[in-house]
């Protein structure tokens, strides 16, 4: 399994997948829909799927002395690794905004979503949807990725729209809490996002393993 991840990183990965991790820094941009950073990270991952298909990686991987399911697991491991790198940046910067920068006027005047644990929960939801809608969709054929990516884009922007709109709904202002205000609510969103991420990723991986097993190469 670790060999598959090494193979993904050394052979299959597009350099853009690594570069686009830095979109996690969008967490610091005031007056911007910061959840787009999570979407851009998945856009970088999309480049790896493109590069992998151009390089006929599926056949190369299937010829290696591994189970076909290991090929799928290796790809998911790489995807989750990149997502977690981006998430780590977002988490550190969110904590910065929740502590040292909590009183910053530029963030206080921000009409858009604030960086707090709710934001991190939604970022995990976007990553989970990428793993389910795009990666899972790709492994239905192990070749076509246009439709799954369009679907993922739509789903991601619906999530971003909902996340941005939520705190404007009367009674739900608390989701845009600053610092450690309403920490219980913030934690609940983060845990729900984490649970959704794990669930969507694991179920999608299991489905992809089954689908890939059936495909004739």
């Amino acid at each position: 399994m670790s060999n598959m991840l090494k193979k993904e990183m050394k052979l299959s990965a597009s350099i853009l997948s690594y570069l686009f991790i830095v979109f996690g820094f969008m967490t610091l941009i005031p007056g911007y829909p910061i959840l787009c950073g999570a979407f851009f990270t998945t856009l970088g991952l999309f480049q790896t799927f493109q590069s992998m298909r151009e390089n006929n990686d599926t056949v190369y991987s299937a010829l290696l002395p591994v189970r076909k399911s290991d090929v799928v697991r290796g790809r998911y491991a790489f995807v989750v690794f990149i997502e977690m790198c981006s998430f780590a940046i977002m988490a550190v910067l969110t904590l910065l905004r929740m502590t040292a920068l909590a009183g910053s006027a530029v963030y206080r005047a921000n009409a858009l979503m604030n960086a707090n644990l709710v934001y991190l929960g939604f970022a995990l939801l976007i990553f989970g949807c990428f793993n389910s809608v795009f990666v899972g969709g790709f492994y239905k054929t192990a070749f076509y990725f246009g439709k799954p990516f369009v679907l993922h884009t739509i789903v991601a922007f619906v999530i971003i729209f909902i996340a941005e709109a939520l705190h404007h709904v009367p009674g739900l202002e608390a989701v845009n809490a600053f610092g450690f205000d309403h920490i219980g609510l913030q934690l609940a969103f983060l845990l729900a996002g984490a649970a959704a991420f794990v669930l969507l990723t694991v179920l999608s991986m299991k489905r992809s393993e089954r689908n890939f097993e059936k495909i004739d190469l």
Partner: protein
């Protein structure tokens, strides 16, 4: 006991059916797999490598079914399906460095020897290689981990006669070390040089699976070469 056993392999496509394919490979023997284009050679090879899923049949290596033991079996066999058709812009040395991670028995010395024998420049990318050189690179990957069985789909296609001859010598050396080799080819003169057994497929059915001498005796007419036997046999089948 046979080192590879294939029993009742079936695969149905809309235009083609692989029909109840049975054969076995023995340690230290070279089996030439012959048949026309589209006869089912590649489908058979892909099926016994789990690249396509047979509708029925059993494939076992070293007494273990392929199903459930795929990873372990694949570390003990070498296979190449034609030329090197992946990662055209990666250096060969990088492809080798990643591939060898998966083989506990990878032998750097053997890889160096094959690179030298095949005159492969490992600093080059597949894009910079001729088709023949790509085949050689694939063979290097297939043969550098002490495989006990080699399964090769048209390994000599695209090779010049001298390189083919060199490769057949390598096959003979490997056979003497107990390696079982199955290779498909259209160049039947190669089989005259090195095949111990012949596996002949037509329209998805195995027509013959026997020693080369027995094949010539039963299928051939006096003085016929393997190519002539195959050509006559195919013509007769077409006229039936």
């Amino acid at each position: 006991m046979s080192i590879v056993e294939v029993k009742g392999l079936c695969k149905k496509y809309p235009e083609f059916t692989l029909d109840n394919v049975d054969f076995s490979l023995e340690k230290g023997r070279i089996t030439g797999f012959i048949g026309r284009n589209g006869a089912g050679k590649t489908t058979t090879i892909k099926s016994i490598l789990n690249l396509v899923h047979p509708d029925a049949g059993e494939v076992s290596y070293f007494g273990m079914p392929l199903n459930g033991n795929e990873a372990e079996i694949k570390t003990r066999i070498g296979y190449s399906t034609g030329s090197l058709n992946y990662y055209p812009r990666k250096k060969l040395k990088d492809l080798i460095a990643v591939t060898k991670l998966f083989y506990p028995n990878w032998n750097d010395e053997a890889a160096r020897r094959y690179a030298e024998l095949f005159k492969l420049d490992l600093e080059k990318t597949p894009l910079e290689l001729s088709e023949g050189m790509k085949v050689k690179c694939n063979l290097l990957l297939a043969m550098s981990h002490g495989a006990e069985v080699l399964i090769l789909d048209e390994p000599t296609s695209g090779l010049d006669p001298f390189s083919r001859d060199e490769l057949l010598d390598v096959f003979l050396q490997l056979r003497d070390h107990g390696v079982a080799i199955l290779y498909s080819t259209h160049i039947t003169s190669d089989l005259e040089k090195c095949a111990d057994d012949i596996l002949y497929i037509r329209n998805g059915k195995i027509i013959a699976s026997e020693t080369r001498e027995r094949f010539i005796e039963t299928m051939g007419q006096p003085g016929e070469t393997l190519e002539e036997i195959m050509l006559r046999s195919e013509r007769e089948a077409r006229n039936e």
